[in-house]
């Protein structure tokens, strides 16, 4: 559907425009299970979501929450590629390469500016709590995992902030734990956009920083908040949806938030108090980062829709949104980076089970050192702290086929020549393999595995030839075997 909007011809991809529309779309495709019996916010909801992630089961929509009549939970919103396809308005059966191609096409299109609507038209303003009425305990905030440091408000959300000088608005998925009825604490890494704004502007001046947390976003807004893209997230959401995002101004500060979000928390990040945060079950499948004094958020206004839905991502062992979506968007942003530098790549893929720690790159190895060039570009980019392994394969390998990639890795990598380690780099406090000291200071190290054949080997006499059904038999023999396969007595493949 094409429309004229904001002086651009935009295409509405008919993607779900809100979390509510998304739930309906998932129900229709069989990708959501509605649970009408009472569910406890204290561990039970988290356990349901975790099991759904590990079984790749439909998303659970829990309509009756203990202690919180009128609220609901939606878990594991984007932990399968089917649900990702639905969020983009695509056929649920779309393959990962098809989804990736569509994501790249949409995010390489013209930015779509958001529009601001009036408060009376914004569903997130249906209920407004200010002053002494502000109490996070009025919201069904789940204890996601037994042993977590607290109930996590923000697991699938956007923390919205604005740089006071550049005016850049950032939507980021920074986890937030309820400390008390007015206070949240969160993990904000120093290399993140919010971390840089805090350390570069607000903390040195001792000024409080306004923030808003939006929970229960449209799936594409959540995808944008999770994506490491240089495009402002509200515009990125518009590009993914093919139509502008509707924003509304906050009650207590000048930030703007998605008008159809389920719940909005407004407040300020305080510069002079830090309270404890964590531990928390993380996307790596472990509790790794230490409990520590972290960035502290004071809440001074809560707005929410009638019958609001709290969204829950339960991070742990694969696969959940922390791995699937982040691997998807991080891999594709790295693909854009490498293509922008003219590297002859065939694609980039991060397998969700690598917890987005390994970047697999397909390349046409036309010159020496191309694997190192790829690794240095990727590690040296803004995205570098989020992963520490690069595996480079040639263009004969299907990067989405782990059997092929693993075979290339195990047979083509010379331990002396093809493994290169980069020390003294930036890491994250969430790396399970990092020492406690490295975690505390976001230190890291990196490695590249060069699975390409050396370009100075003679391709006829020195490069080994692959022995497989596809590679070695004449086409006529392959055709004959394939056409007779079932008559030989085998099942159809």
């Amino acid at each position: 559907m094409d429309n004229q909007d904001n002086n651009h011809v935009v295409r509405d991809y008919l993607a779900p425009a809100s979390n509510r529309e998304f739930i309906e779309a998932l129900k229709k495709s069989g990708d959501c299970v509605q649970i009408d019996q009472e569910v406890d916010w204290d561990n039970e909801a988290g356990a349901i979501v975790r099991r759904c992630c590990e079984l790749e089961a439909p998303s659970p929509y829990m309509t009756k929450i203990k202690d919180y009549p009128g609220f609901s939970f939606m878990g594991a919103p984007l932990s399968t590629y089917r649900r990702m396809a639905i969020s983009l308005g695509m056929d649920p059966e779309s393959t990962l390469p098809e989804i990736s191609k569509e994501y790249l096409a949409r995010t390489n299109s013209e930015p779509i500016e958001s529009v601001t609507i009036s408060k009376d038209k914004a569903p997130c303003k249906e209920n407004i709590l200010t002053g002494d009425d502000v109490d996070l305990c009025k919201l069904p905030i789940p204890l996601v995992h037994e042993g977590d440091g607290g109930r996590y408000v923000g697991t699938w959300h956007a923390v919205i902030t604005k740089h006071p000088e550049s005016g850049d608005v950032n939507w980021g998925m920074y986890r937030q734990m309820m400390y008390d009825g007015r206070t949240m604490s969160g993990a904000v890494f120093p290399f993140s956009d919010l971390g840089k704004t805090l350390s570069g502007y607000y903390l040195p001046r001792g000024e409080a920083m306004p923030f808003a947390t939006a929970i229960g976003l449209s799936p594409l807004a959540a995808m944008a908040a999770c994506a490491p893209s240089p495009i402002p997230e509200d515009q990125l959401t518009g590009m993914l949806a093919g139509k502008p995002v509707e924003l509304v101004k906050c009650e207590t500060n000048d930030l703007e938030v998605p008008a159809n979000a389920e719940i909005i928390l407004e407040g300020e990040i305080v510069p002079d108090v830090q309270v404890e945060e964590g531990p928390f079950g993380e996307y790596t499948g472990y509790r790794t980062s230490p409990r520590d004094f972290r960035v502290t958020f004071r809440v001074n206004c809560i707005t929410y829709r009638n019958n609001a839905t709290m969204t829950i991502s339960n991070m742990g062992v694969p696969q959940d949104e922390g791995q699937l979506l982040r691997s998807f968007s991080l891999g594709l942003e790295l693909e854009k980076l490498l293509r922008s530098q003219g590297i002859p790549i065939t694609g980039v893929y991060m397998h969700p089970r690598s917890t987005h720690h390994m970047m697999i790159v397909g390349v046409k190895p036309t010159y020496a050192g191309i694997a190192s060039q790829i690794a240095q570009l990727a590690f040296g980019s803004k995205l570098g702290p989020w992963f520490h392994m690069v595996m480079v394969v040639d263009d004969t390998i299907d990067i989405y086929n782990w059997d092929q990639v693993y075979h290339a890795f195990c047979t083509r990598v010379n331990p002396v020549r093809d493994i290169r380690v980069y020390d003294h780099s930036t890491g994250t406090p969430l790396y399970p393999h990092a020492s406690p000291h490295e975690r505390k200071w976001s230190m890291g190290s990196k490695v590249v595995f060069d699975c390409t054949w050396p370009v100075d080997w003679d391709p006829i006499n020195e490069v080994p030839t692959l022995v497989s059904f596809d590679a070695v038999y004449p086409q006529a023999i392959k055709d004959k075997v394939l056409s007779n396969w079932e008559s030989y007595g085998f099942d159809a493949v």
Binding site: H145, D148, G150, V270, E276, P279, T288
Partner: protein, 85 residues
């Protein structure tokens, strides 16, 4: 009725003291404020009957400690300056 609290520590030795100490504890009482924190002055004992309230302990990665304690909460500490209240 006594209250049930929980604290996170790196080592149980952090709780072995005759002296008053400052801790961040969270309530385990049933209700919508379960798991919310307070910063308190308190006394703690590994004798579970020494003080009126029960204290459960977890380590830094969420593991439940095998030993339980009792706690006497003496006063609450306000961590935030008035400008944030």
């Amino acid at each position: 009725m006594s209250n049930k609290w929980e604290v996170f520590v790196m080592d149980l030795d952090e709780l072995v003291s005759e002296d008053e100490m400052e801790l961040s504890i969270r309530t385990l009482n049933d209700g919508t404020d379960k798991y919310t924190y307070k910063r308190v002055n308190c006394r703690v004992s590994d004798d579970t009957s020494a003080y009126p309230d029960h204290l459960q302990v977890r380590f830094g990665r969420g593991q439940l400690a095998p030993k339980e304690f009792s706690i006497n909460v003496l006063s609450e500490i306000q961590r935030f300056p008035d400008k944030y209240l």
